[in-house]
């Protein structure tokens, strides 16, 4: 091998870096622009839950006579449908991570001087906004169809807290799956397990106490069960019956805080796992 030419000394530069807030905002703006260019991603997750709230719930109310517990069944299912719209919305958002990977666009982001966690958090920010819009539309449609919601400042806070943390959890699940599953087809195949199954077990359509004892016990470990109970406590069930079915305590406020803590714990854990999975999968 020939000798290497003599090097010319270079001076150490002062590297220029984006501020964390600016980098996160840029990544979120990118994701928002890509999402806006694909309206299906916004509308499709809403269709099923909207049909559930607008068509299925009133029909079941007529067929079964409702819950016989002083809670309006349409409102009960209206909130229950949130437990479907958030997972579907997040799963769609996770799909775009696979699209980024396959289209190659992810490589430019990986070469950028920003921590790789920001790539996950930027997507999460857009998933949160999108889910919030879908939930507002869903509850609005349900109210227009005859659902009765008791909106108070405290209720909004509980509802928003539960919905936000559950969205963070679900996006963590979606991002983790997207990092682990190489193909879109396989990823879509995971939807029933992560979105549909918990929806049926978590008391979206009926109180968890109506299920066999073993399934009720399982339901208590699902973050969706806690999130739905909180959201119903916030808007349709001030007595906190759903929370009492989980905790069996005398103080509904304590039960609500405990359920919020459970959802927060799941959200924090899945966010950490998803960041780790993404960072590991991004570097070979």
């Amino acid at each position: 091998m020939s000798a290497i030419a003599e090097p010319v000394p270079v001076t150490l530069p002062t590297p220029r870096r984006a501020r964390p807030s600016s980098a996160l905002a840029t990544l979120a703006r990118r994701r928002a622009a890509l999402t806006a260019s694909n309206p299906r991603q916004i509308l499709v997750p809403l269709i099923g839950p909207a049909l559930l709230a607008l068509v299925v719930a009133p029909a079941l109310k007529v067929a079964t006579g409702g819950l016989h517990s002083g809670i309006d069944y349409e409102s009960f299912v209206g909130v229950g449908a949130v437990g479907l719209v958030i997972p579907l919305s997040c799963i769609f958002a996770g799909l775009s991570v696979i699209v980024d990977r396959h289209s190659g666009a992810q490589r430019e982001l990986l070469a950028a001087p920003v921590p790789r966690a920001y790539l996950v958090l930027g997507n999460l920010a857009v998933a949160l906004v999108l889910s919030a819009l879908q939930v507002i539309v869903l509850i609005g449609l349900s109210a227009l169809r005859g659902g009765v919601f008791h909106i108070t400042a405290d209720g909004v806070a509980w509802f928003a807290g539960a919905a936000l943390l559950f969205t963070v959890f679900m996006y963590g699940v979606a991002e983790t799956l997207a990092s682990r599953i190489p193909k879109q087809e396989e990823y879509v195949g995971a939807v029933p397990a992560v979105a549909i199954l918990p929806f049926f077990l978590a008391g979206a359509l009926f109180p968890i106490g109506a299920m066999p004892g073993a399934l009720t016990a399982i339901a208590k470990f699902l973050p969706l069960t806690h999130a739905l109970a909180l959201m119903r406590y916030a808007f349709v069930d001030p007595s906190g019956k759903g929370l009492h079915d989980i905790w069996g305590m005398s103080s509904v406020t304590t039960e609500a805080w405990l359920s919020l803590a459970v959802v927060a714990l799941f959200a924090a854990a899945l966010t950490a796992i998803s960041i780790r999975m993404f960072s590991r999968s991004a570097v070979s």
Binding site: M1, S2, A3, I4, A5, P7, V8, P9, V10, T11, L12, P13, P15, R16, R17, A18, R19, S22, A23, T26, L27, R30, A33, L34, S37, N38, S103, G104, A105, R107, E108, L109, L110, A111, A112, P113, V114, P115, A282, V283, S284
Partner: protein
């Protein structure tokens, strides 16, 4: 300090595939450095390690003094990459793609706008820049990707097979663009390619990588000089290996003579063409298509690697 340093750099993928085997090289500021080799030689893995998307198994790599493993953000902040395959957001406009890069690399908005306007003009993208990138041709997209990489005024620019898959006219246009970047003496460029004419045209020095190891590193001129001023080629009907062996026995062919398929290549050095022809005659080699020509980098590569390159290219 160098703009790029690779010291004992090694990458073994899970499953034991040793893609890069302890390579060392340094690139000075303002230098255009070519990494040549066939597909699978380890070029993209090397670029991946230097750009922090592939974790080295062993060794050290630095960009402008920043260790890519210990300070990846600093290393990424002084560099940009134009990847081998399309790496754009197709549904966004060209301008949106440039803005995204400038923001992520922390370029001040006013400076970024000025820089983008200059680059869009220089790359001939003015008429396209507001269109979604999905409507661009391959060459237009490549020019956009180069403009994007330069938006952040990197000190080190990686061009990974920048002309692969482009038609000859667009390829030559793009080579002009890249050659124009040489005028910026503060920009260090590492370009990988398996088109040796590109390397000869663009690079101050080239490293030839073969099966994960560097087999040569020097200026194209110095590498060519090793084969002398002229080579003789012929096609042999029979065993090329035996033909080569008999010419070596007669000391007409040196260790740098090589055979690829049925074609034997003999650097002439101090021999006259007639000496080789006489040897062919007396060894009763059934030779045809005998020609002489000036050696090029393909010959250097083929001589060093035994033909893998021609198969890949």
């Amino acid at each position: 300090m160098y703009a790029i340093e690779a010291i004992n750099l090694r990458k073994t993928y899970p499953g034991g595939v040793e893609a890069v085997k302890r390579i060392d090289f340094e690139v000075s500021e303002g230098e255009v450095f070519g990494l040549l080799g066939p597909n699978g030689a380890g070029k993209s893995t090397t670029v991946g390690m230097l750009t922090t998307t592939i974790a080295p198994t062993a060794g050290t790599a630095r960009l402008v003094g920043h260790d890519v493993a210990r300070s990846p953000l600093l290393a990424r902040s002084v560099s940009s990459v134009v990847f081998q395959e399309a790496v754009v957001d197709g549904s966004l406009t060209g301008r949106a793609n440039l803005e995204l890069h400038a923001r992520l690399w922390g370029v001040q908005p006013a400076r970024a706008k000025r820089r983008m306007d200059e680059l869009v003009e220089a790359m001939g993208l003015s008429d396209l820049i507001e269109r979604p990138v999905s409507s661009y041709s391959g060459g237009e997209r490549r020019r956009l990707e180069i403009a994007r990489a330069l938006c952040s005024e990197p000190q080190v620019l990686f061009l990974d097979e920048p002309t692969v898959g482009l038609d000859p006219r667009i390829r030559h246009e793009l080579l002009d663009v890249i050659a124009g970047l040489r005028a910026r003496d503060d920009l260090t460029i590492l370009v990988t390619t398996h088109y040796l004419d590109e390397a000869q045209r663009l690079c101050d020095r080239v490293a030839i990588i073969h099966e994960g190891s560097l087999v040569a590193l020097d200026s194209p001129k110095a590498l060519l000089a090793e084969l002398g001023h002229e080579i003789l080629e012929f096609r042999v009907d029979g065993s090329p290996a035996r033909a080569l062996e008999s010419l070596r026995r007669r000391r007409i062919a040196g260790p740098d003579a090589f055979a690829i398929g049925a074609r034997v290549t003999v650097p002439l050095h101090s021999h006259a063409v007639t000496d080789v022809l006489a040897a062919i005659e007396s060894e009763h080699l059934r030779a045809s298509e005998i020609t002489t020509r000036v050696p090029n980098l393909d010959d250097v590569y083929l001589q060093l690697t035994g033909g893998a390159f021609s198969e890949a290219a």
